[in-house]
């Protein structure tokens, strides 16, 4: 199952709301700047139909109903200003309804798989290269 370009665009906006550009000098990259959207694209492409459908549904539900669920606003998630997007996802992330929390968690996990694995973030966290342990000489 392949995602459409507009779905990828929505995904990028959601991921960049969870992991925005700037904020911390140490790791200024946003999720989409590190290729995290590709993780979602490949998840949808390569997982079985039901899983792919679930991931896609999460994106659609946040895009269409996120603002309504969290703020009672009849607008699309991607059309909101960044500050409002953050508030929408924060509210959903803290929702008392399990399924609503899970929608955001799915996007967040996928975003982190891409962002946390990127060389820039790893370097900023001191996780680049190999550990400074004494090497025991392989096999």
């Amino acid at each position: 199952m392949k995602m459409w370009a507009f779905e990828l665009d929505w995904t990028a906006k959601m991921m960049d709301t969870i992991i925005p550009p700037g904020v911390e000098e140490k790791f200024p990259q946003s999720a989409s700047e590190t290729g995290a959207v590709k993780v979602m694209e490949e998840m949808v492409q390569y997982t079985p139909f039901i899983t792919a459908f679930g991931l896609r549904a999460a994106i659609w539900l946040i895009e269409i109903f996120g603002p309504l669920i969290s703020a009672g606003k009849l607008s699309r998630f991607s059309s909101l200003e960044p500050e409002s997007r953050e508030q929408v996802l924060k509210n959903m992330y803290q929702s008392k309804i399990y399924l609503i929390r899970q929608l955001v968690l799915l996007i967040k996990m996928t975003a982190c798989f891409g962002w946390g694995a990127s060389p820039g973030v790893r370097k900023a966290l001191g996780a680049e290269g190999e550990p400074k342990f004494v090497k025991r000489g392989g096999n």
Binding site: T17, I18, I19, P20, V23, E24, K26, F27, V39, E42, M43, Y46, T47, P48, F49, I50, T51, E86, L89, K90, Y93, Y98, R101, Q102, V104, L105, K108, M109, C112, F113, G114, W115, G116, A117, V121, R122, L125, G126, A127, E130, P131, K132, F133, V134, K135, R136, G137, G138, N139
Partner: protein
């Protein structure tokens, strides 16, 4: 893959259709399948292994979890048990199976669990403790089981060991099947230096060197049966990631078919083949060790991405609370996914990533679920019970005390309803955490029970001879035959049971 040239024994596609035969066809090359193949080959039988996943080499791993998920995890790690909440299930799908993506933790089967199998489930005709001990000895020698070396312990493991010692709890430095570990903390995303002694590096190539064959990227669709006896495996080659078809495999089994596909895929294969169903227990009694993690923050750097992925564990409360604790290292891609917050708050929290420690609390769940085939995959129905959550909370509280005793100042409980961070003076908040399982983020590993073994044909799927009660020539050697969970990491017991079972089968 050292030793003799085995490339002519490895097949990953067919030009149309391969029709062949073997004494035994072994389905699955994880800990149980590879052990069975090795024992049967050593006994002089001609063995053909059929593996759904691909043969992934160490150099293909780059430390990224997602890379490993694409290459080695079933459904890219997205398979989940559905119930009151969704619990992701971690399963390997590659040559070597779970041994490629686990943390190489070795535990001999607890004797109290074995005694329960004998007394309560009457498995005395199937397993004897002396045979199990002999198998453990052989496996530990073959797979080079050694405790984590001090120089690769890493701070997370070391601190937790200190904390547990301060509290007087029984715990240990974990023995693992490894040779030359350099503490890369990448066990769960594939060892890039081939230090972990997976079955992909040991029993599979050793079997090939002695004459076995392997058909990988090849999915067993069905077992065909004639006059109540299994005769062949019908399989198809396909790219494990894209599903692109690459031909068919029909392989006749002269002596038997050994199914080692896991407690999820084994019952599904039997369902699709129309066998194993006579007792009504096929796919039932699914259970395992669902777990959740507790993160803490220390004043100084810990660097969870350095050191043995899992180098410390404790079964101190296994019998009393049905929980086990284990340190779990991880790289930033996995770690950040567990750091709370959205937007600016998330990024601020990530600033502390280098000072975080982490422990998993594995529950010996008292609940049971079921497995049924769904399309090419499986539907897994399972919910933890309230007592499981009571036990989890007790476990979390004790882990928190260990963390504080080892110097941590704050905890990140990841429990809905609790603050994202709690200080060392607020541990009682854990005691008052909700009992609703939906408030916890869990992961399921170590599964058991969907083809349980027993002498009574009306209560079990597999007999004490490891053969299906209702179909001759089909043997099950994976943990789906286990009548209970183990309470400890199961690879060693799975391999020992497969070792003992395969020896019996080889002698038939």
């Amino acid at each position: 893959m050292a030793g003799k040239n085995i490339s002519d024994k490895i097949f990953d596609r067919a030009n149309g259709e391969i029709n062949t035969d073997a004494d035994f066809v072994v389905i699955g090359t994880g800990p149980s399948g590879a052990t069975a193949a090795k024992v049967l080959t050593d006994a002089g039988h001609q063995v053909a292994m059929v593996e759904e996943g691909r043969w992934v080499k160490g150099e293909e791993f780059d430390g990224s979890s997602f890379t490993a998920q694409k290459k080695c995890y079933r459904e890219l790690g997205s398979i989940a048990a559905m119930g009151k909440n969704m619990i992701p299930i971690i399963q390997g799908r590659c040559v070597g199976g779970g041994s490629v993506i686990n943390a190489a933790i070795i535990w001999r089967m607890p004797e109290d669990v074995f005694e329960r199998w004998i007394k309560e489930y009457q498995l005395h005709d199937a397993l004897a403790w002396k045979d199990m001990e002999k198998a453990f000895d052989t496996l530990e020698s073959d797979l080079h089981v050694v405790p984590v070396a001090p120089e690769v312990m890493g701070r997370n493991n070391s601190l937790l060991l200190q904390g547990a010692n301060k509290l007087g709890l029984e715990s240990r430095i974990i023995p693992r099947n490894e040779r030359g570990c350099q503490g890369l903390a990448q066990c769960t995303s594939g060892c890039p230096i081939n230090a972990k002694q997976t079955t992909e590096l040991t029993y599979v190539p050793w079997s090939l060197e002695k004459g076995a064959r392997i058909y990988h990227s090849c999915r067993a669709d069905r077992i065909s049966v004639e006059s109540g006896r299994a005769t062949a495996v019908l399989a198809r080659f396909e790219d494990p990631l894209t599903g692109e078809p690459r031909g068919k495999l029909n392989i006749r089994a002269r002596k038997g078919i050994v199914v080692c596909a896991s407690p999820i895929q084994t019952p599904c294969l039997l369902w699709r083949s129309g066998i194993g169903k006579s007792s009504g227990h096929l796919g039932k009694h699914f259970t395992g060790h669902p777990g959740a993690g507790l993160i803490c923050i220390y004043p100084d750097e810990v660097r969870l991405w350095e050191g043995a992925t899992q180098g410390w564990d404790s079964e101190h409360y296994r019998k009393e609370w049905h929980v086990k604790f284990e340190a779990l290292g991880m790289h930033p891609d996995l770690l950040t996914s567990r750091i709370p917050g959205i937007g600016k708050e998330f990024k601020k929290n990530v600033l502390d990533a280098g000072r975080m420690g982490n422990v998993g609390c594995a529950m010996v769940s008292l609940a049971e679920g079921s497995v049924r085939p769904m399309g090419k995959g499986a539907s897994v129905s399972f919910s933890v019970c309230e007592q499981d959550i009571v036990n989890l909370k007790k476990g979390f509280r004790k882990i928190a005390e260990i963390m504080i005793a080892s110097g941590a100042t704050h905890l990140i409980p990841n429990i809905f309803g609790l603050p994202p961070r709690i200080s060392k003076d607020e541990l009682s908040l854990i005691d008052n955490a909700p009992l609703d399982s939906k408030c916890y983020t869990m992961v399921m590993t170590h599964m058991f029970g969907t083809c349980r073994m027993g002498p009574d044909k009306s209560k079990s799927v597999v007999g004490p001879d490891f053969q299906l009660h209702d179909t001759k020539g089909v043997f099950i050697l994976d943990s789906s035959i286990f009548p209970t969970h183990l309470g400890v990491n199961p690879q060693h017991t799975i391999m020992a049971v497969a070792h003992v079972g395969a020896k019996k089968i080889a002698a038939i």
